[in-house]
């Protein structure tokens, strides 16, 4: 990883197996700063595992994972914690803390990590982030009172609380109707335009990948079988790649 300009994130020959089943086999890719990379593939092909490896929630069995110029694989938890502050993660289920209101969910990272921030400032940031995702009047609600789309938007607002340089998104549209799906994608695009964040987005929906733009990587049977623009993938020699891309 030498040179002046590092990729925002990079996988180098990453392998990961669960109970003897190899989910990722020597996978390598780079994502440049400000770039959007959509990971597509059939279910159970290691897309979500890739995201969890990228943020250090799992360790690979082999290979290196770079965030900026730092290999996070052998990092201690406290070092990893510093790296994670530059990253945001939107979980497939949004993973809101169900014992806290929406407001508290968003305030948690600021209160925990920025001790010196006055309460008034925290409140202003939380209100602004809630308004940005269209939940300005819902801060008092508990996660159980929210619809699927609202939960996703709230999860996105929380992921953006620390102004991450890198945003990892796991199935932003799963379980949502088409209108809400498009709204979430529009939000992601707005975030990208505003903050020029690097994004790695896992999706099974090629329409969504098309809307979000950027490069597309196709995972199958644990291997990265293709990576490139939508047009390049449409002309790929692998029939599965063409089939996944032409599902729109």
């Amino acid at each position: 990883m030498s040179g002046d300009r590092h990729p925002a994130v990079a996988f180098r020959d990453v392998t990961r197996a669960f109970e003897g089943r190899t989910v990722l086999r020597s996978v390598s890719f780079d994502v440049a700063p400000g770039e959007v990379l959509c990971l597509i593939g059939r279910s159970g092909m290691g897309k979500s595992v890739t995201l969890k490896l990228l943020i250090g929630l799992m360790k690979p069995d082999a290979g290196a994972i770079y965030v900026g110029n730092e290999n996070i694989v052998d990092m201690e938890e406290n070092q990893l914690s510093k790296v994670r502050r530059r990253m945001g993660f939107l979980f497939q289920s949004a993973a809101l803390f169900d014992s806290m209101s929406l407001y508290e969910n968003l305030a948690v990272p600021l209160k925990r990590l920025l001790d010196a921030t006055p309460d008034a400032e925290i409140e202003a940031i939380v209100r602004k982030n809630l308004e940005d995702v269209g939940l300005g009047n819902d801060g008092h609600k508990m996660p159980g009172d929210l619809s699927g789309g609202m939960r996703k938007r709230a999860g996105l607002a929380r992921a953006l609380m620390l102004d991450p340089q890198i945003l990892l998104v796991d199935e932003p549209s799963s379980g949502l109707d088409r209108v809400t799906e498009a709204e979430i994608d529009a939000l992601l695009l707005r975030v990208r335009e505003k903050d020029n964040s690097t994004m790695v987005i896992v999706t099974h929906d090629i329409r969504e990948a098309r809307r979000l733009g950027g490069r597309i990587a196709v995972l199958d049977q644990g291997s990265l079988i293709a990576i490139g623009s939508l047009e390049e993938l449409a002309a790929n020699e692998n029939a599965l790649v063409r089939a996944l891309v032409s599902e729109a």
């Binding site: 938890e77 994670r84 993660f89 497939q92 993973a95 169900d98 948690v108």
Partner: protein, 253 residues
């Protein structure tokens, strides 16, 4: 056998991690106080009503035997010693294992299944320190306090039963109850319940925090938390009683 050894090893490592992280900053005082409220305050009605009923039943059962030997006057003493020495600590521990242990196991397993624990980690917050340590500490603090209240409720139950049969005054009942009670018969058995609390917290947090089996794992974590922490309390009681006898020989007399 291998699975059993693996389990003992894993929970031992989990306990070591908890001890190592106990005093590492941040101390999570706010979360600990919140857990003490959730576990202690909300278990109070259960513990007090169970203690009162047990006191009542114990008095009714032992009365006839003591009357037969002409020792009816010893009933308050028997009642107090039985509650202070083992009924109070053991029953409180088991009640907390049932109520709080199941709650902790299910709650943490649900947080694991719904990726909330991962979300905490992703926000650069130490989930072990935030979720596990406060629960273990809260259990260790809450159980001794609940035990004292169980003892008081047990004596109150015994007094009510005595009143119904022999119209003893409260003053005389208390005088007789505490005649043979020394600090050594009260403090060590009460303090040992901090170990019961720690075991309930540790075992339940272990099952909840380490499960990774989705919704099915939530039920299993709750059940395992109750079963194993109840067993741990009973087995540790044997050792702790022996230790109390060793360090406070007057209690064995």
């Amino acid at each position: 056998m291998r699975r059993y050894l693996e389990f003992v090893g894993n929970i031992g490592l989990f306990a070591l991690t908890a001890v190592r992280r106990l005093l590492a900053p941040p101390l999570e005082l706010q979360m600990t106080l919140r857990q003490i409220e959730v576990m202690g305050w909300k278990s109070l009605p259960l513990v007090v009503s169970a203690g009162f009923a047990l006191g009542l039943v114990l008095s009714l059962h032992t009365r006839n035997t003591l009357v037969r030997f002409g020792a009816e006057g010893l009933l308050p003493t028997v009642q107090a010693l039985a509650f202070f020495n083992d009924i109070g600590p053991l029953v409180t521990g088991l009640l907390v294992a049932g109520r709080v242990g199941a709650g902790i196991g299910a709650q943490l397993a649900n947080m694991r299944a719904s990726e909330q624990i991962d979300a905490i980690e992703v926000l650069s917050i130490d989930s072990f320190k935030l979720l596990v340590i406060p629960r273990i500490v809260a259990c260790s603090v809450a159980v001794p306090i609940l035990t004292i209240l169980m003892d008081v409720a047990g004596l109150a139950g015994g007094y009510v039963a005595q009143c119904l049969t022999s119209h003893i005054s409260a003053g005389l009942f208390l005088f007789r109850a505490f005649t043979n009670v020394s600090w050594a018969t009260f403090i060590p058995p009460t303090v040992k319940t901090a170990v019961f609390g720690a075991l309930v917290g540790l075992v339940s947090c272990y099952f909840g925090y380490t499960t990774n089996e989705g919704a099915e794992g939530v039920g299993r974590a709750a059940m395992n938390s109750v079963v194993i922490s109840s067993l741990a309390i009973i087995l540790s009681d044997v050792v702790l009683v022996k230790l109390i006898f060793f360090f406070f020989p007057e209690t064995a007399a």
